[in-house]
């Protein structure tokens, strides 16, 4: 028993140092695999890939709050859903919506502005508290948006949501790109994913990101050092909200609709599980978490109808046994 354990620990240590030494090659290889992905798989798998990428963006945005800043938001679906609904309102052809354009150069700034504005309002209120109060308030706010989306059907389409959301295009003047085709849309999502990954990696390694980690570790001391911690948390909240909104936008374009479920606590919970299972405060961990948690129900549904029980159990197991997540097992944290 004892020797087995030592063996496993040695194996993990070897894998850890190998990963650390070859991280650049792993990155390049992953990228190449991601690029040839649509050519090598069936449509069903490609669909799963798109979903995984979108949810990975969502999970990474939550990681900035939960893992780096130590803000346990349980209502991140608020921004995810808002992104979806704003996009739907601008570009959907249903009679409830404006149906203006599907051009990303116009819709993307509107989504960013809309989610940023709501993050300003929610952040201003929620960040007046901390700890469990922050958690309760984010959860409550998101649920309220959910209930408004269901009840205010003359604007939101009620429980059916908004249908007829087009896949996006990109164009200036006569130059024009369409992402209607599934494989083309995959590359668009991949591009958003890469931008998010590098942007967030840049942010968490910048002085700003280090300050966020400082707040996570000891907010009192950061304040003592002269940091205006509210301003840092507020900025992180807005950045995180906008990225979640973009993920929501992509999801509504992918599924051709925006539905209240995008705002549901269950959605916030999924993102949270992805971060916790993958490893909070690692960025790559939540990507692994998103992959697992999107694939697991798909494969589990063949054997059991209780896929949500399974997800809950996975969360409980990780909380109890491996609080550092999968990434934490293979990487020394920081």
């Amino acid at each position: 028993m004892g020797t087995e354990r030592t063996k496993i620990i040695t194996h993990i240590a070897t894998a850890r140092s190998w990963l650390a030494a070859n991280s650049r090659w792993v990155l390049i290889l992953t990228l190449i695999l991601a690029l040839i992905f649509p050519f090598s798989v069936k449509t069903y798998i490609l669909s799963l890939g798109i979903e995984v990428l979108i949810f990975a963006i969502f999970a990474m945005s939550l990681d900035l709050l939960l893992g780096y800043t130590g803000l346990p938001s349980l209502g991140h679906a608020a921004f995810f859903g808002l992104g979806a609904y704003i996009l739907a309102y601008v570009s959907s052809n249903s009679e409830l919506a404006l149906g203006l354009t599907d051009n990303l150069l116009i819709t993307l700034p509107i989504v960013i502005l809309g989610t940023a504005l709501s993050a300003v309002i929610l952040g201003f209120l929620a960040l007046r508290t901390s700890g469990v109060f922050f958690l309760m308030i984010t959860l409550a706010f998101a649920q309220m948006l959910f209930s408004i989306a269901i009840r205010w059907s003359s604007v939101t389409g009620g429980s059916d949501g908004m249908t007829g959301v087009p896949r996006p295009t990109l164009g200036i003047g006569t130059w024009h790109l369409s992402f209607t085709d599934r494989a083309d849309f995959y590359y668009l999502v991949l591009a958003f994913f890469c931008i998010t990954w590098f942007l967030l990696r840049y942010i968490v390694r910048s002085p700003f990101g280090l300050a966020l980690r400082g707040i996570h570790a000891n907010e009192q001391r950061m304040r003592g050092l002269g940091y205006n911690t509210f301003r840092y948390k507020f900025t992180a909240f807005i950045v995180s909200g906008v990225i979640a909104g973009i993920a929501g936008m992509l999801l509504s374009q992918y599924f051709w609709h925006a539905v209240p479920h995008n705002l549901f606590w269950n959605m916030s919970g999924q993102a949270l599980i992805m971060v916790v299972v993958g490893g909070p405060g690692t960025l790559t961990g939540p990507v692994i978490g998103a992959t697992l948690m999107r694939l697991l129900p798909n494969f589990a549904s063949t054997y059991t109808e209780l896929s949500e029980t399974l997800m809950g159990l996975v969360l409980i197991l990780f909380v109890l046994l491996a609080p550092g997540g999968i990434f934490g097992i293979f990487h020394k944290k920081r």
Binding site: R128, I137, R151, E308, L320
Partner: protein
């Protein structure tokens, strides 16, 4: 005028339900610093177990006693077997995540066992019908719920302020570590409090079933409103739970009558204004812990 009286009474009914919920949530938080996100699940579980008992034995009063006992026992086991292993790690976030996982599992299992359709539960035969009250006809059962909520509140208040167990609980709110230094079995207190809190949730579930019916999703609807109560009223005090329940219960009932599409938005507005004025709630324990 008639609508006003009816809606005020309905608001009181809902406030009392919320109060029983919030008291349990607040009790657990006061002792253990844990926000139990499965609290709504225990409400729903209590309601469904109560419904099954009523169907089986055709006795509402038996259900009213047995359902909280069963759910309380489940709560005791959960605290004893798992929750106590994760005290103190990671600023309590892990405990909250644990209860969240529990809520996911419970929601799924409840739907699996009782189905996803709406179940209506009849009021006990002794309390059916309507009586004239302040110039209107009002269901007897709802008046009984108001009385019941006030009674529970009084019992809890006397229990906490006037008994030896209450003394231990109050000491635990101030300093659980010191209390255990005085020879009190604090682990047992924690298990007991968690069982008590979950039993209160189940009690609210049985009382609420004839009014709100039972359906999947109700767990989080109730949980959100209970959270709103403790955000507004403050955590850790009975007074906060009571007054917060009145505020949220009334806001929800009147909101649903006069602004049906924005009922929750009204609650949002109440919460936002309290947050701006007093981030730790109107009557909560001072400061963040």
């Amino acid at each position: 005028m008639e609508t006003l009286v009816i809606q005020t009474l309905n608001g009181l009914v809902f406030s009392m339900l919320l109060f029983v919920m919030a008291a349990g949530l607040s009790l657990i938080f006061g002792q253990m610093d844990v926000i139990n996100l499965a609290h709504g699940s225990f409400y729903l579980l209590g309601g469904y177990i109560g419904f099954t008992m009523i169907r089986q034995y055709e006795n509402y009063w038996l259900a009213l006693i047995i359902a909280p006992v069963i759910v309380g026992t489940i709560g005791f086991i959960i605290e004893y077997a798992i929750l106590r292993r994760i005290y103190g790690r990671h600023h309590h976030l892990n405990q909250v995540l644990f209860t969240f996982g529990l809520a996911l599992v419970a929601a799924d299992l409840i739907r699996w066992n009782w189905g996803s359709y709406v179940i209506t539960v009849a009021a006990p035969p002794q309390l059916q019908g309507q009586v004239p009250f302040l110039g209107i006809q009002f269901p007897v059962y709802r008046l009984a719920v108001i009385t019941f909520g006030l009674t529970i509140g009084a019992i809890l208040w006397i229990g906490i302020e006037r008994t030896r167990i209450g003394m231990i609980l109050r000491a635990g709110v101030s300093d659980a570590k010191l209390l255990s230094g005085f020879g009190v079995n604090i682990q047992l207190v924690f298990s007991g409090v968690f069982a008590m809190g979950t039993a209160l949730a189940a009690l609210a579930g049985v009382i609420g079933a004839p009014i709100h019916s039972l359906y999947p999703g109700l767990d989080f609807e109730i949980l959100i409103l209970t959270l709103a109560v403790v955000v507004v009223g403050g955590l850790g005090t009975l007074k906060g739970a009571f007054l917060g329940s009145l505020l949220i219960g009334m806001a929800d009932t009147f909101g649903k009558t006069f602004l049906p599409e924005f009922a929750l938005f009204l609650i949002f507005a109440v919460m936002a204004s309290v947050l701006i004025l007093r981030p730790s709630g109107l009557w909560g324990l001072r400061g963040q812990r």
